[in-house]
Structures are given as structure tokens and as C-alpha cells.
Amino acid sequence: MTSVGLLPLRRPPRGRVLGGVAAGLAAHLDLPIGLVRLVLVLLVPLGGSGLALYVWFWVTVPAGDPTALAAQRPAALSRIAPHLRQPGRRIPLTDIGLGLLLLLGAGLLVAARQGVDLTYSWALPALLGLGGTALAWSQLDTMQRDRMLARAGGRTPVSVVRLLGGTVLTGLGIFLLVGRDEPMDDLLRSAVAAIAVLAGAALVLAPWWLRLVRELGDERAARAREAERADIAAHLHDSVLQTLALIRARASQPEDVARLARAQERELRAWLYDDRPTPGTSLAAELGIVVAEIEDARGAAIETVVVGDRVPDAATESLLQATREALVNAVVHGLAPVSLYLEVGPDLVEVFVRDHGEGFCLDDVPADRFGVRESIIGRVVRRGGTASVQCKPGRGTEVHLTLPVTAG
């Protein structure tokens, strides 16, 4: 462990035997998993502390993939749809085992009540109750996943089943534990009475509970709204109000006003409508910066259309530089409107820069005009791309750049 930070403590879905606690701890502490398991097992005879520790971690540590968490998707690929990830489908062995154990307990219990005399009859109801509690408590572990599912629009009945099953089992366990010396009839009658009382209480408390839930939801929404409003207010104050003040101060200089208004419009638009990708992960965002620079410096509008996106690299950096030169060329020597089109395909990135000026033909450009030859064409060709300039009388000029890229 040198500069690499610790992986977060999560119970990974893969490589687990029971609850994934040992695997999670091993990943978190960067220790061999065998050692962690050994220590846990060795701790068991010490007053059951190993077991208690295990259960404690199981209940409190959320499930998840620690390595995936550490290496979050680096993407301004937020612009691009995420790939569907097939979760490793595994048979819920632990769940089945737990269920079988509980069934066995219940069977033994029934057998005992039917006459088979088991001296440890108190142990089974206790076991049953514990099992039910564990089932209900395992909620906590899946809660996070359920919340995510609920947000995505799905809803799993699993948590409800868990809760119901846990309640029934625990109830049964307590019931049998308390009334283990009573005759069957009395037991049944008191069970019915107990259930009736519970149902009555639920009926009375339901509206109160519902109101509580609703109020909680309302409050949460209100808080989110409040935070958003504060966010917007702060942003408006920082940018828009400042710009308006500047515009008022320079009302006599129309060029400045136009430039300020355009810059502010672009910024506000980006803030309102675009995803905010992490810097250095989106070619589209970098192109946007280049366009903004030129628009501000030259006082011209560039109609920009971008299709697709990718993570920029050295080659696309050259392409961007060439695009910048082509845009400057179009803005300075051409006529408005200037259009820019960037298309990112799986193996080719294409850029079109178009203006409506008289244009220039490549053959007419003297060899000493460093601008076009070197800064636009040379840059792209060195990276294995192509560059061409097309101009037709009355139809403007179009610079076409292509750059082969590897899929990524």
C-alpha cells in the first residue's frame, strides 16, 4: 500500500461465501481473504465475538463492488448512454440455506408439539424467532439497492416478503416460546386474539403512519427545492446580474454589449441545458470551449452542431487545434454565417467548418501562407487524417477534416 488509497468497505457480490463480509474486509484492508476468514473463525470461541462481529458487519456494511466504486465511470460519458451491465446472476444459496434451516426448525417444533418430547423445546422457538429477526433485519442490507430500484421506476416485492416473513416467523417463535406449556386449543385462541388486537391497532395507527410518511416525503422534496433555488440564485447573482451591470455600464459600446450578451447567453445555456462533464472527458465540451474563445475574441457567432462524443486524446487535440485555425480563418476571411459540425463515429471523427465567403482554393494559396497549409492541414495529416477545402462560387467555403480513431 503506497500511494493507492484504501478501497471503500463494501460487501462485494463476487467471491462471497456467506454475506461477503470477509471478502469486503479483505479488499478494504488489502489483506489475503484467507487470513481474514481465519481470524474471524479464531475469534468465534472467544465468547462468540467472531460471530457477533460478522453479523454486525453484515448488517451495517452495504453491499456493493468496492473496485467499481473506486474506479467510478470516468465519463462525460454521461452524455453517452451507459452500457447495460448484466449483474452476475447467482443462485441465492445463503437465502435458500437460511430458509431450509428455518423450515427444519419449524418442522421439529411441530413434531415436538405432536408428542415427540424434546427437552430443548425452548431452544427451537428461540431459534425461529432469531431467524425471523435476521430475515427482517437483512432489509437494511438491501435497502440501498431497493432505493435505487425505486428511483429507476422499478419496485421489488422482495423487501415486503422479507418483512412479512420475518414478522410471521418472529411472532411464531415468541408465541411458542411464551406458551410452550399451554394446550394447543388455548394457544390457537390466544393467537387469534393477539392477531385481532394487532389488526385493530394497525387500523387505528394507519392514518397516522401514512401522514408521517407523506410529511417526510414532502419535507424532503421541499428541502431539495430549497437547495436548488439557492443554487440557481447564487448562479444568477454570480453571472447574470454581473453581466447585466456590465452591459448597463457599457451601453454606449454596442460591440461590447453584444459580446457580453453572447458570452452570458452561452454560459447560461450551458448551465441550464448541458450535462456538466468532468474536464478532460468530453471532446464536445472541449470543442465548446474552443468555439467560445473564438466567438468572444472575434465577435462572431458560430452555429455549432455536435453528434456523438468521446474521451479526447492527443490525436483529437490536434484535430481541435486544426478546427480552431479553420474557424478563425472562416470568421476573419469568410462571411457569416459560420457553421461548425463535429461528428464522432466509432472509427472516424469528422469536422466541417463552413462559411459563406468567396473562399480560397488550396492551389491558389501561396506556399508561404503558413496558416492553412501547416496549421490546419499539416496537423491533421500528421495524425493520419485527411483535410480538404472545398469552395464553389456563391456557395461558400467548407473545410473538411477527418481523423481516424480507435473505438473507445
Binding site: 452524455r79 452555429e303 452542431v305 467548407e398
Partner: protein, 222 residues
């Protein structure tokens, strides 16, 4: 007939900003007559039903109604779509706005940065039954339907992909070509370009393409 005999196109302007309506009114040329103006969803639906103009120029963001904005106006007039055509005019570049109004039935989408002559031209085009695609809308279409050969193979349904020609037309429009320029670039007539664009619009409105859904989901539209 969508235009009157004199060649004048009647329009209704729907926008909640008085200043902007005044600006649009002033920038439209003499062949376009503004019949009326409305400033929210309910007023707009009532006015369109009353006047039945051939073209409604409609802002995407409108107050009133149940909050659906321009798309709600169009859905409120679905039965009139054969006579009344909607041209969406928006300050917003946001994909959800574009997709919402186009799928509701708008025949075109332009941004408010458009010049007066271009807007007049767009109105006439929509009145004539054509679709109007801004470069940015063409970009959205390419983004949604996929540009590369790899994207074509995923769906068999005719609605779910663009033909090679349609893709070429969309790319040229995204590159800032006018219909006339697209026509001469591809050596086809303007009418053919218009029919390609209308076909793309139809696909955009009707496609249940999985890529379109994925694309929308990636932009949190669903």
C-alpha cells in the same frame, strides 16, 4: 389550401413574452400576416381552435395548462393537425424540448436566433406542408438514430433507421446547408430534399426505436 390566394400566409404567434412577439411580428416579411397572438397554453388552444390558421408559430416554454408548454398546445389541437401546422420556435437547445414538441406533432423546429427572412421562409415552408429542420435538430436526429454503419443493423423496422440518403441530407443540414444547397450538392431536386426531410420527421415522430429511447434516457428525458 394552406395559403390564401394572394400568397399571404396567416399565422398565430404563441409566446409568453410580449417583447418577443413584437420582435417576431416586426421581423416577418410582407407575405406573412399575423392573425392573432396568445400568451399561454389555454389561450393558445382557444385561439387556434377559433381561427384555424394554417401555421402556428409556437414557443416551447409556455405558462398555463398543466405545465406541458408548447407540446401541450399541440396535443390539445391534435384533431386539427391536418389543417393547422405548428412551427416550434425556442430559445432552448435542450433535447427534451425538441423531442417533446416534434413528437407531439410539430412540423418544424427553429431556434430564436433565426433571422427574420429565414423565419419567414420557415413559416412558408411549413405552410406548404414541408418540414423545417434547423442544423441543430438535424444533429439531434443523427445523434438519436446513430450516424455510423454499426447503428443501422440493430433494427429491422423501417421507422427505426434512416436511409443512406436521408442520413446524407441530415448531415448536410447539420453542416449548415440550406435545402437549395443540399439539393445541388446531392444532384437532386429541392422537392426530393423536402420529401427526405418529411420522411425523417415522420420517423422522428413515430419511431419507437430503441436507440431513441436509449438516447433520451441518457439525457434523462424518460
Amino acid at each position: 389550401m394552406s395559403t390564401t390566394d394572394s400568397g399571404v400566409v396567416d399565422v398565430v404567434l404563441v409566446d409568453d413574452h410580449l417583447m418577443f412577439r413584437a420582435g417576431v411580428r416586426a421581423s416577418l416579411d410582407a407575405t406573412i400576416r399575423v392573425l392573432g397572438e396568445a400568451d399561454d397554453v389555454d389561450a393558445a388552444i382557444a385561439m387556434v381552435r377559433g381561427l384555424r390558421p394554417p401555421v402556428v408559430v409556437l414557443d416551447v416554454h409556455l405558462p398555463g395548462g398543466s405545465g406541458g408548454g408548447g407540446a401541450e398546445v399541440i396535443t390539445g389541437c391534435t384533431d386539427l393537425l391536418a389543417q393547422v401546422r405548428f412551427l416550434a420556435l425556442s430559445v432552448s437547445d435542450a433535447a427534451e424540448d425538441v423531442v417533446a414538441v416534434i413528437r407531439a406533432g410539430a412540423r418544424g423546429y427553429v431556434t430564436k436566433a433565426i433571422s427574420g427572412p429565414d423565419l419567414s421562409d420557415a413559416v412558408r415552408r411549413v405552410a406548404g406542408g414541408d418540414a423545417v429542420f434547423s442544423p441543430r435538430l438535424a444533429g439531434f436526429v443523427l445523434d438519436a438514430f446513430g450516424t455510423a454503419a454499426g447503428d443501422v443493423a440493430t433494427g429491422d423496422h423501417e421507422l427505426d433507421r434512416l436511409s443512406a440518403r436521408e442520413r446524407e441530407v441530415m448531415r448536410l443540414i447539420a453542416r449548415g446547408y440550406s435545402y437549395r444547397e443540399v439539393a445541388s450538392e446531392l444532384f437532386i431536386s429541392i422537392k426530393t430534399v423536402e420529401s427526405h426531410v418529411s420522411a425523417v420527421l415522420r420517423k422522428l415522430q413515430l419511431s419507437s426505436r430503441h436507440e431513441l429511447t436509449r438516447w433520451a434516457a441518457a439525457r434523462r428525458l424518460l
